[in-house]
Subunit: 485 residues, 2 copies
Amino acid sequence: MKPYASRIAPLLLSAAMALATPVLAQQSAPTPPAMAISAEIEATAAALRDRALQGNIAFKFIEGVTTEVGPRLGGTPAEKKAAEWSVAQLKALGFQDVRIEEFQIDGWVRGAESASVTAPFPQAITITSLGGSVATPKGGLEAEVALFKTYDDFLRAPADCCKGKIVLVTQRTVKAQDGAGYSATVRNRSSGPAEAAKRGAVAYMLRSLGTHSHRFPHTGAIRYEAGVPRVPSAAVSPPDVEQIERMAARGQPVRIKFDIQPRLAGPSTSYTVVGDIKGTDKADEYVIISAHLDSWDLATGALDDAAGMGITAAAGKLILDLPQKPRRTIRIIFFGTEETALQGAYAYAKAHPDLLPKVFAGSESDFGAGPVYQFLTRFNPAVLPAFAPLRRVLAHVNVGPGPNTALGGPDMTPFREAGVPVFTLQQDGRDYFDYHHTPDDTLDKIDPKNLDQNVAAWAATTWVLANMDGELRPIPDPAAPRRLQ
Amino acid sequence: MKPYASRIAPLLLSAAMALATPVLAQQSAPTPPAMAISAEIEATAAALRDRALQGNIAFKFIEGVTTEVGPRLGGTPAEKKAAEWSVAQLKALGFQDVRIEEFQIDGWVRGAESASVTAPFPQAITITSLGGSVATPKGGLEAEVALFKTYDDFLRAPADCCKGKIVLVTQRTVKAQDGAGYSATVRNRSSGPAEAAKRGAVAYMLRSLGTHSHRFPHTGAIRYEAGVPRVPSAAVSPPDVEQIERMAARGQPVRIKFDIQPRLAGPSTSYTVVGDIKGTDKADEYVIISAHLDSWDLATGALDDAAGMGITAAAGKLILDLPQKPRRTIRIIFFGTEETALQGAYAYAKAHPDLLPKVFAGSESDFGAGPVYQFLTRFNPAVLPAFAPLRRVLAHVNVGPGPNTALGGPDMTPFREAGVPVFTLQQDGRDYFDYHHTPDDTLDKIDPKNLDQNVAAWAATTWVLANMDGELRPIPDPAAPRRLQ
């Protein structure tokens, strides 16, 4: 029944909306006629969508960067190689003015890492350094573990909970379609090391924030606080955390010894790649489609975020292949060093203050390669009814309407904070955190069919935004906190 | 519909067989009346089965050995600890004469290991040393890779295929309920290193024999040949093999550098644990239920083979809890050092030549913790019809009849070769090779419900064999090749 319904339902919906939408639009908010998306724009968007489903370059792009570059940590020669690779590809696809914009970061590089339980039942455990962590003393650090079932339990523990100990927060990350599970636990990682140090702990560990049950640790960035000691910090794989919990349940103290030797690499150059599809009568207005260039170092970053690069490049390529040009300039950006603190996005926004008011709308694809199921916006609420034609186009690929609370993707944060209208083509991320930030984020985890659906949604949406009349500002709540990284 | 059918079908079958079996038995092979399994034995077997489903000690046993001992490679102090742990547990459960039997093996211990592609696209890859492999020169060994899609392609390659190269066989292992996929590819691992050396290769690698698509390599034993150079040998994780295949598809030579430092540890003591449930009028006949004590070193060996230890110990415990004693002695054995070449089983058989003719029947549980779906035997064909009562009992837990081609489990090999009747309670192993021999073989992969069903089948079968009259010899084809390890 489902295949039939999914083929037929969009057609019925489309027919119904064709009749209903103008009326609805008039009733709910008086939209200036200039906001209308013309029938011609809608038809081209639908054609782009259908062409995307017939095949596009997204998978090939992802296969290319993950194979020929591989892991590409921000601020390393591998990221530079990824930038050069991307420049060559985007030029070959027909993007204009393709260039690299360099910026400086404080580099960090993973070193050797090992860990074991030393008591009561000695055995090796699987950990990885958290991004930005200082090293342990050479030869390792050993201490008793203070276990906490949740991060709140840890924060509310008595003042003497942790002195001289290794804090280990064992809270699980819940699987959720929109990533809400990770949003809830990500502070366990980012803020945990400083909070542990404030309580006298000698190190901080947590259950990996992934939703898998494999023996992979899940890395990610931490934020030390000024004036608070910097303690070595690591993620433990889910099965190993459960092993430690079983040991602790027997009532004896558990001791861990671990040795991590990451290196604070000092000032390092990172790279953002930019290319354009020049507009016509509104060439000085911009629609930004983006992804991030860097990946964590443990894997080839196929999902995070070669997928986003492939999806946006493929959407741009379909537009480049059209006989007509867009009215606004479509700018593709692959931001450098997203993973540690959105340094690439902030550096880009800072370097181009004049650009920000000219950005009509922007978004980043940075949530893997699952199918898009929802179109979210953060536009002036008055303009939303005018988007009925785009909603009609997206309904054909099973993308439903979403609320006006889009964040636009991590690297849109500085743009949104500057008042830029953002949108999110929300992907189904139920499986995303099974792989994200682990050694398992590799090409085989991508379903090319889902990728095609993403490209269809991106190509259609980008075309509509680049060609419609009007203005999407002012946006509600530009300072909404960012969600995922 | 299925739950209803599975509840009802065994009852119908049971009723039908109660009428049909004596007739069938008379027609197909004249079974001596002494072979009959009495109604009382059948009733007790059914009661044991039902008690197992209400709860048993299997999961707790597995939780215990994997938590309190962890990985337990044959011939290491960890295996000794596992032996001492098991002795204490079996004694506490009520087994009699619980003891450790020591034997000598040539030890092998994994060392540091790392690998990377050095050309055309330098990046780290995930490998692990194969069990028994010699080390590379310190600092590593680098060479061009010779790729082969299948092991047969490799064997049939021209004589000059591999000189100075690293052979890499990329053949996949197929998922199969009975492990037939692994049976087909296990020679790729065991014989590959010697075959590569004969062709002048400097090292041997293969796609991990696991059926997963995670970034875990799958270890396992190799067999060098006398007079053939011993080349360093390693398994590569499935996603990394696919990465190398993608690089090779671009037409340039692929070069790998790898550094493995396993150590040939020389003469080492290994440990087999034995315990008894003494019989009554046939106490000098034995039913062996067994598992293996050792595990690979990469994980806690929850599936391979703590599961077998827990299942057989729990089955024995249910029998120990009965008011009556078995007629034959039930011997539980946890063999040491199964993983490298069944050394524990061969040492035990060699040390107890007088025992072998007295073993009525034997089996090993060594295929994980999936549900049992089939009862296979290797008994005198004339006695098979007499097993109808046991088949009736097993049908209630969805165990169907199987052919008379049982191997009995890896450690039954020397017993079978000596003419001992063996049986197999065949488990569904479709997922087994997703974890087997990888770092991911941990407790969370075990479903306690399936474990209960295993214990039910083992308790019932063991009781029937320990109490029925007759003789199961001579067995067909005692020298059938062993299948899995």
